[in-house]
């Protein structure tokens, strides 16, 4: 019976093409707008590493000013100091762990093949790659021993490998960074997590860096962060070493803990560490350590701006207005069909049949409008990605994936129902005798 109603609905839409275009267009406009904002929000809010986010934890220690808490919403510095990172990295509780920061250094191409360029480099530890499931095209990450040296090794992103080596397997080749030569040990496959989740302190919409280097090189090369740093107290001594022993926080610290028991042990470890430091006059505030799951941290840090969520709500209201406006049009159309409905009732259609027939027609309008709306939304997503590329040098942030297609389809069906349920109910209540003119 459903297929029969669907066939009748197609005939009905074909009968009045202009009217159908207006109704379908109305739904399409609403779906297009609602899908666009939902897609943008989805790009920011979705789990960037779903296979591992449950075991990835960000580490924060409250080393802030005793007079007042850190000014952010959480009241705790979002990063850790170099000296704390160095000490807590000695724990053997995490499966993987890595402190890290972003640097901005000159990378030199092969002589004669181009000019050196300032390049964002992720300074990190060997565990970075297995902890975050970074995918390798050639080679692999460096081992933990290379962290200790440190050894002059690097991992390249696929774009940098394209740029420096024309996309060839560059493992074993060398790249000059600043005044040192580094050996390539691995090249990543294209790696585009929805956000740069391992560093959401700044410009988290940027793609991952294209060069990864052992963090141990910061001392020999005196590499400073190019990301955010927070401090409340002057360094105890001037110069680069002063930064390393200061209370300034500028490193992101991540650990992989397999279960809640490990997390609790790690929290205890950090608590013991901070208590020990307190004896040395550090950590003047009440003891506070945070070991926070990735998705919780994203919520806490407002990775998805509340304004965007508000826009999603507004776009849904817009869709509701579109749907409700169509209610009047559909009611007029259905009532004009009253004689045909009278005939169908006389031939044995129950109210349920008539209701279902018209709801199916509304849902068909919804689905057609939804399909058109998805096309509109795809065009708008393409435009938005162009804008994102101009700002963050990546064109794949906003993706209309299967989840969003399902969302748009669900909204289409809902919009069709909202627009059509009242007209369908009204028309099925028409007394059949009135329109049959049996005399």
């Amino acid at each position: 019976m459903l297929l029969y109603h669907l066939r009748i609905a197609f005939k009905s839409l074909r009968r009045s093409l202009g009217f159908s275009a207006v109704v379908v267009g109305g739904i399409a406009l609403g779906i297009g707008v609602a899908s666009l904002f939902a897609t943008i929000r989805h790009a920011l809010a979705k789990d960037p590493i779903p296979q591992k986010s449950g075991v990835l934890y960000n580490v924060r220690l409250d080393n802030w000013d005793p007079a007042k808490p850190h000014p952010n919403k959480a009241g705790i510095p979002p990063q850790v100091t170099f000296r704390d990172m160095t000490e807590i990295m000695k724990s053997d509780i995490p499966v993987h762990q890595a402190g890290m920061f972003k640097a901005n250094l000159y990378v030199f191409p092969e002589p004669g093949s181009g000019r050196p360029t300032r390049t964002l480099i992720r300074m990190c530890f060997a565990d970075f790659f297995p902890m975050f499931d970074a995918p390798f095209q050639y080679g692999s990450g460096w081992d933990r021993q290379a962290d200790q040296g440190p050894e002059p090794v690097i991992v390249l992103g696929e774009e940098m490998n394209d740029k420096l080596f024309g996309g060839q397997n560059s493992v074993g080749k060398t790249v000059r960074i600043e005044d040192r030569e580094f050996r390539v040990v691995g090249v990543l496959k294209p790696w585009r997590p929805s956000i740069k989740f391992y560093d959401i302190t700044q410009q988290q919409l940027q793609a991952p860096e294209q060069v990864f280097m052992p963090l141990g090189w910061l001392r020999p090369m005196q590499i400073r962060t190019s990301g955010n740093s927070d401090g409340w107290k002057s360094p105890p001594q001037p110069g680069f070493e002063g930064v390393l022993v200061s209370e300034t926080t500028w490193l992101q610290m991540w650990v992989e803990l397999p279960d809640e028991a490990a997390r609790q042990r790690y929290v205890d470890f950090l608590g013991a560490y901070v208590a020990e430091q307190k004896k040395q006059g550090r950590f003047p505030r009440p003891l506070r350590v945070e070991v926070t799951r990735l998705m919780t941290l994203m919520d806490e840090q407002g990775v998805t701006p509340p304004e965007l969520t508000a826009m999603v709500v507004v776009s849904l209201l817009f869709l509701a207005v579109c749907a409700l406006n169509l209610t009047g049009l559909l009611l007029a159309k259905f009532l004009a069909r009253a004689p045909e409905i009278g005939v169908r009732r006389a031939l044995g259609a129950s109210r349920k049949h008539v209701f279902l027939q018209h709801v199916v027609e509304c849902e068909l309008v919804g689905v057609l409008g939804g399909a058109l709306g998805i096309l509109l939304s795809l065009a708008a997503v393409g435009f938005a990605n162009g804008w994102v590329k101009a700002l963050f040098n990546r064109s794949d942030l906003i993706q209309f994936d299967a989840t969003m297609a399902g969302y748009a389809l669900g909204l289409s069906l809902l919009a069709g129902l909202v627009a059509g349920v009242y007209p369908a109910w009204r028309v099925c209540r028409i007394p059949p005798a009135v329109h049959l003119k049996l005399q």
Binding site: R15, G348, Q439
Partner: protein
């Protein structure tokens, strides 16, 4: 087949009450062909609406094929309309978007018959009325007489026990009128009860019995129910 006793139907507005049927009683035997006549406003329309379960009534009893239909819900009334009653309208009332085949298919769809059986019934019905070659024609591509024959095929496909016809020849010329009346006589000859509203004495003459309505009542004495005897016309003859 159809027995009404003291049926009342009142249309009310804020200002006025109109007694469309008042203490209306009628008995139609199985297989009978009855012509219903009367001036405008006499209650013919209301009678057909009530008889076809297209409208409710307020008092009295109505037995259709032996079943009391006074307190049926919408689903039950729809099922009876679908399975026991066939309608033939003055203006044919074919659905303009549907071709001949699909128009005849409508009541069968609501009956939930399988596709094969529906196809057989449709082809047989259209064969009976001589329109097998017009299966995919739209109503607008047919003459008035052909449209009415399609409407009759729609009834035949459903194989109802009772046909309610509303001026079935009102929009046809005299040649077509005779064709349609011949067809209805043929259908009645197979045992189907027909109640036909008509203004035309020529049409009414084809019926076994004529009843006249006035002010919502039957004015013929022989239309009053005789509940003790429910014999088919063919057997009585």
């Amino acid at each position: 087949m159809l027995t009404m006793r003291d049926v009342r139907k009142v249309y009310r507005t804020e200002l006025i009450e109109t007694h469309a049927l008042s203490d209306f009683s009628l008995h139609v035997r199985p297989g009978e062909f009855v012509a219903v006549m009367g001036p405008s406003g006499s209650g013919k329309t209301t009678f057909l609406n009530v008889a076809g379960l297209l409208d409710t009534f307020e008092g009295g009893t109505y037995l259709l094929d032996g079943q009391d239909v006074s307190r049926l819900n919408d689903d039950q009334m729809s099922r009876i309309r679908n399975q026991k009653i066939g309608f033939v309208f003055q203006s044919f009332n074919l659905i303009p978007d549907l071709d001949v085949f699909d128009n005849v298919d409508v009541p069968l769809r609501y009956r939930g018959l399988p596709a094969g059986e529906r196809k057989d019934r449709i082809e047989r019905a259209l064969g009976l009325i001589g329109l097998s070659s017009r299966l995919r024609h739209l109503p607008s591509q047919l003459s008035g007489g052909q449209q009415q024959r399609v409407a009759i095929a729609r009834v035949l496909a459903g194989d109802p026990r009772l046909i309610l016809a509303d001026e079935p020849t009102g929009n046809l010329d005299s040649l077509m009128t005779r064709e349609i009346l011949d067809l209805m006589e043929e259908i009645n000859g197979r045992g189907t009860t027909i109640v036909m509203v008509t203004h035309s004495p020529e049409c009414a003459a084809r019926a076994h019995r004529q009843i006249h309505l006035l002010d919502g009542k039957v004015v013929d004495f022989d239309a009053v129910p005789t509940l003790a005897r429910e014999e088919p016309v063919a057997a009585a003859r």
